[in-house]
């Protein structure tokens, strides 16, 4: 019975976000269009000036990075939703109801993962339209997609933890200020070997670079590539740290 209610409660909370999308489709569309805009900007505005070390088409290099970047930007969705609930007292209402903490966070993560899958699909379609291709078969391509979603899933918990700790939707600006340099200081737009050595080292170690590099390899795209394992280990480390922290923060009785 408990398991039944957990599944049912999680689904009702996931559906809540689907209802948000239906009630305010503009918000969803803007969220989906933003990465597309960044993609077009880098592909056509800055792309002409970019040289991929070792040769290769910049757009082919760019797309895996854009996928990883979009997964990182998803953090802002999670943050905003969780912080708004905490501030308006909706989280407190959940906590005075006979539903488990697990259902509340599962509902949130399912909704956010659906959103991530949709935005990834949109971006893949745009990538195909601007000339990006995968070259190693569907199996490797699907593995790359799985790695991207894994990164999003790990960052989701960071988002929940940040939102429950900072607790106000207005502090989103601070999160953006944090996310943007982290996102740009990576192999997303440029290869780390083109940066000053110390900066390149940081960029190479960025979890975003691990996922971008591994997916470049799997898609058969040129430029800064890397093995699969860091793209698995990094998200798992983030998950192991921020998953328990987020749940503890939710349960905290302060």
């Amino acid at each position: 019975m408990t398991a039944y209610w957990m599944v049912s409660d999680s689904w009702i909370l996931t559906r809540r976000t689907l209802l948000h999308w239906r009630n305010q489709p503009a918000q969803l569309l803007l969220g989906l269009l933003f990465p597309v805009m960044v993609l077009l900007m880098f592909a056509y505005l800055f792309g002409g000036a970019m040289v991929v070390p070792g040769g290769g088409d910049y757009r082919e290099f760019l797309l895996p990075g854009m996928f990883a970047l979009t997964m990182a930007f998803g953090l802002e969705n999670t943050y905003t939703a969780v912080a708004a609930d905490a501030q308006r007292g909706v989280t407190d209402r959940f906590r005075t109801m006979p539903i488990s903490a697990a259902s509340v966070v599962t509902g949130r993560s399912l909704a956010d993962m659906l959103n991530a899958a949709v935005s990834l699909a949109v971006l893949i379609a745009c990538g195909l339209a601007v000339g990006w291709r995968w070259h190693h078969g569907i199996g490797d391509a699907l593995l790359a997609v799985a790695l991207l979603l894994l990164l999003r899933y790990a960052l989701l918990w960071l988002g929940i933890w940040l939102a429950l700790t900072a607790g106000k939707p207005e502090t989103l600006m601070a999160v953006q200020i944090l996310v943007w340099p982290l996102a740009f200081l990576s192999s997303v737009f440029t290869a780390p070997e083109t940066m000053p050595a110390w900066l390149g080292t940081i960029a190479a170690w960025n979890p975003l670079s691990a996922t971008a590099g591994a997916t470049r390899e799997l898609f058969g795209n040129p430029g800064w590539t890397g093995p699969v394992w860091p793209a698995v280990v990094w998200p798992l480390v983030l998950l192991a740290v921020f998953g328990p922290l987020a749940v503890r923060r939710y349960r905290r009785l302060t």
Binding site: R15, N23, R88, V90, R93, T96, M97, L253
Partner: protein, 310 residues
Amino acid sequence: MITAEGLTRRFGPTTALDGFDLDVPAGTVHGLLGPNGAGKTTAVRILTTLLRPDSGRARVAGHDVVREADRVRARIGLVGQQAAVDEQLSGRQNLEMFGRLHHLGAARARGRAAELLDRFDLAEAADRPAGRYSGGMRRRLDLATGLLTDPAVLFLDEPTTGLDPRARTEVWRTIRALAAGGATVLLTTQYLEEADQLADALTVIDRGRVVAAGTADELKGRLGDDHLDVVVRDPDRLGEAAALLARIGDGEPRVDPDRRLASVPVRDRVAALTEAARQLADRGLEAEDLGVRRPTLDEVFLALTVRSAA
């Protein structure tokens, strides 16, 4: 229905609650009064399982709030200081979602939502996003959400803060109807008039401690006797009126020439009032106003909280 013994909770160096006791019998409305930062919200958060006490015990609807939190949660409703509703969902979607999360089942949740929308005058706005509701409507939706399961105990934490007088009256009407229906209500408020209007009994807290408890009348009685007030039309005859009151009342009359008011403490309200009316008429002393006044709850509140701060 709600009992608390020696609840204590500290936040760092501040002691928000310091040995708080409470006893609310079933079917009554209890007012928890206190200035800002007195510990009202902390008390409510402990009683609604949102916060653990450092020490002390509390039972709500027969269950311990720490050890049997789940059972308590199944029996309570909480309406907090902000309207805890999803602003992107319509009123109906909110009620249906919270109903399903209360495990009412889809059909019952739908039925209950429709019923509550009607009862709270929200039927017309039912399908608009709650974010576009007025403050009063949002508050009513919040109250309706708290009532989805017909909770045995309802906690209202400053339910009318920030509402205009009309919306406040609406919320009061709702609370009265709930009490008439047999619910136990714990209401925190800074508005003494609200407590006076709604509560069967009151607990006044300040700095985390109970400084007084009893009915509103008992608390007012502590501040001393009722007063008989006369406002005369002719300022020159104020002295004459004061002398008259001195014979009727049980103490020294007080005179306020600016307001043309003479006032004296009295014990027997009705006898003093009729006697004063008769004697004033006999002397042809015209009064603009005549009445017996209890000390207001505001006066009681100020006296109590000033005393505890000293």
